[in-house]
């Protein structure tokens, strides 16, 4: 069975089905894109996968276990980490602490050893510190380690959010518009970084993105969403030429033979 499978995933707000009958399937190690016009339900799918919303109908399986009904922190513990479209860092904490907090899951000591400062505390803390520093190095954030997260430039904040998500040591990483607000140069660097990270950490990645060049450039497979439904699925070349996708993004082509506003 694939790493992540959703069956008939549906959620309705009032009478509106924001996500309807979505069937996703991600194999281990894949880098999959999730694209679609604004309001298509991309982030809603992320919120369903991470337990922020509970689906009205349908199932989610991760590692062959059902995720429906679990709380967000329980889902993170199963191995899914995410970033947010609107960055959610711990703004008043240092860059280092942002990453250290995410290692919480893998801390090897309990409250009692912390209070009594038992050896397990010192070893656990040293380990957390070393691993956090390593992540900061990888994401070129080491120079900012003692800076408050809110003072980082925008691009660095995005990178820090990815670094923090990786600190939770996920199997599946959900990236919600990681390149939003970045210039082409930064976007290209981020693409390389995401690809490198995937191989280095053996990750499976599901990526929401508006930037077509990024999605087409690195994703092996793409799902296209419109009005909460999957309208196309396949490799980038197929998606690029898919009529329904073009229609969803650019609108229906006007019939050439029809009269147009009285012009010749």
């Amino acid at each position: 069975m694939a790493l992540l499978v959703t069956r008939d995933l549906t959620i309705s707000f009032g009478g509106l089905a924001a996500v309807a009958n979505v069937n996703l399937s991600l194999e281990t190690g894949e880098l999959v894109g999730l694209i679609g016009p604004n309001g298509a339900g991309k982030t809603t799918i992320f919120n369903l996968l991470t337990g922020v919303y509970r689906p009205s109908r349908g199932e989610i399986f991760f590692d062959e276990q059902s995720l429906v009904g679990l709380k967000p922190y329980q889902i993170t513990r199963k191995g899914i980490a995410r970033t947010f479209q609107n960055i959610r860092l711990f703004n008043d904490l240092s860059v280092l602490d942002n990453v250290r907090i995410a290692y919480h899951l893998h801390a090897s000591y309990g409250v009692t050893s912390a209070i009594l400062r038992l050896p397990s505390f010192h070893h656990g803390e040293a380990e957390i510190l070393a691993e956090s520093e390593k992540l900061l190095q990888i994401f070129k954030l080491a120079p900012y380690r003692n800076e408050k997260a809110r003072n980082l430039p925008y691009g660095e904040q995005r990178r820090l959010e990815i670094a923090r998500a990786l600190a939770a040591k996920p199997k599946l990483l959900l990236l919600d518009e990681p390149a939003a607000g970045m210039n082409p140069q930064e976007t290209r660097e981020l693409m390389e970084l995401i690809n490198w990270v995937r191989q280095e950490f053996g990750l499976t990645i599901l990526l929401i993105e508006h930037d077509m060049s990024l999605v087409m450039g690195i994703c092996e497979r793409i799902y296209v969403l419109d009005y909460g439904r999957v309208i196309a699925e396949g490799p980038p070349e197929a998606i690029r030429n898919n009529e329904r996708v073009i229609e969803a993004y650019l609108g229906r082509e006007v019939n050439d033979n029809a009269p147009q506003g009285g012009e010749s």
């Binding site: 991470t50 922190y73 959610r88 711990f90 907090i101 919480h104 801390a107 000591y109 050896p119």
Partner: protein, 320 residues
Amino acid sequence: MIEVRFNKKNLIVLAGVILIYFLVYGLQAVGVISAFQEINLMMLGINIILAVSLNLIVGFTGQLALGHAGFMAVGAYVAAILTTNLNQPFPVALLAGAFSAAVAGIIIGLPTLRLRGDYLAIATLGFGEIIRGAANNINYIGGAAGMIGIPQLTNWTWLYVMMVLTILVITNFINSTHGRACVAIRENEIAAETMGINTTYYKVLAFAMGAFFAGIAGALYAHYFYLIQPNTFTFFRSFDILVMVVFGGLGSITGSIIAAAGITFVNAALQDLAVLRMVIYAVLLIIIMVFRPQGLMGNKEFTLDRWLKKRGAVSGPTGN
């Protein structure tokens, strides 16, 4: 086995802690400390315990709780019943008071921690009043007249040991992955949960720990002043403690200590001015909040490193 790291910094702090103990102990033995000063000394220690423990809940975990006097009352009454009515030794009473308060913290924490901000403030305020109302109506503990004739067992040694213990435990907790989890909840609850932090668990834990030490403060209080009444633990008492925490800086333990000491001192110094005292106190509060809205220390700590560095005596990496 407990592994103690004897670096230079820890040794200086340890020496300071021991020195203060013997200094006050000596002054007391010689008889330099008057009865009035002794009362203030006791209030100082009790206020520090209260402020530091409330800071864990309000300052570090970010849960605005206004029922700290309620936890203090639970600790005070339970400990007083044990020593006065049941003839138990003081340490047993102290522990029982602390644990009862912690249990009260869990009981109040579980249902109310779904609430945020001002809603939580109102719910915890209600809790404090319920405790007071209950104490008012239970004849076994004296009703509105309260309990009289509690043995005076709190002395400088007990007070000081408990105060140092409170500061040590809470500081160690905060500077661990578990404390960071609490701070993460304060900073961004949704992000904290996405990082795998069980937010309910840590909120309840912070509540229980804070209540535990408030219970100790209550027990110490009861066994110093012989007398406790429901009216000792009104909403105003909770509010006083909150003022110390805000004043010192939300999320700064040393800030809480400094503020608790400062406010106790000002209260004592203005004792003779009666009504005018509250006016001066209020004006002082306003002035400090206008000029230092983040509190005396903000969320920073007063550390030896910082202090020495300022004086140019030490340079090097700052650890934690």
